[in-house]
Symmetry: C2
Subunit: 104 residues, 2 copies
Amino acid sequence: MVDRKIDDQTIEKMEELLNVASDFTRLKIMHALLQGEKNVGELIEEVGASQSLVSHQLQVLRKNRLVSVRKDGTRAYYILNDEHINKLFEVVYEHVKEKEETGE
Amino acid sequence: MVDRKIDDQTIEKMEELLNVASDFTRLKIMHALLQGEKNVGELIEEVGASQSLVSHQLQVLRKNRLVSVRKDGTRAYYILNDEHINKLFEVVYEHVKEKEETGE
DNA sequence: GACATATATGAATGTCTGTTCATATAATAG
DNA sequence: CTATTATATGAACAGACATTCATATATGTC
């Protein structure tokens, strides 16, 4: 349990992570990457967004160190950097699914 | 593990929850409420924001059903509606703390 | 070299929203 | 009823940011 005091700086960092996570396109990218390494082309296809948009959002994920890149020839392969993303997905997913059952 | 397919509607709902969670003031409010029921005055004090701001953000939390209100006289007592918020806090907090240790 | 493919990046724009200020509502006290 | 306290709400504004369009960079191929 997160008990008692949390200083504002920590809350700010939590806010940053949540901000990065709270975008449709980035959620789809991260979800795709839960399955493992993917290159940009595969992500574009799976996410169903434009090349530019996917690339921009990958930049956001990179800057926030949620993903890493590995270049191979002209391809760029991305992976999730963080096991916490799995847990974050789980928690949020469970919340949504539970709300569907009860209140809608 | 959240495996394979998640439809866009579910991702949208996840986005909504994360959007609500990804705000400094609301995070402080939710953190305060992790300790239990609080009235608005107490929240204003603990969060250190203006009366108007706290009230507005409580409205956001209410509309998204993350909190419930109980009125008693002129006071309004708020509680967290959802055990998932605990887990969400934990996961995000752990992520931030781990990043502090390693990369900064 | 020229050309094609894969990815990244910059600028521009429109939308969304966090915050403040002012005001309203509701309950209690005198 | 008036005054005061606790909370809510509306309007307005400024800043952030998701998306698109156009263009740049880099690698591989011929």
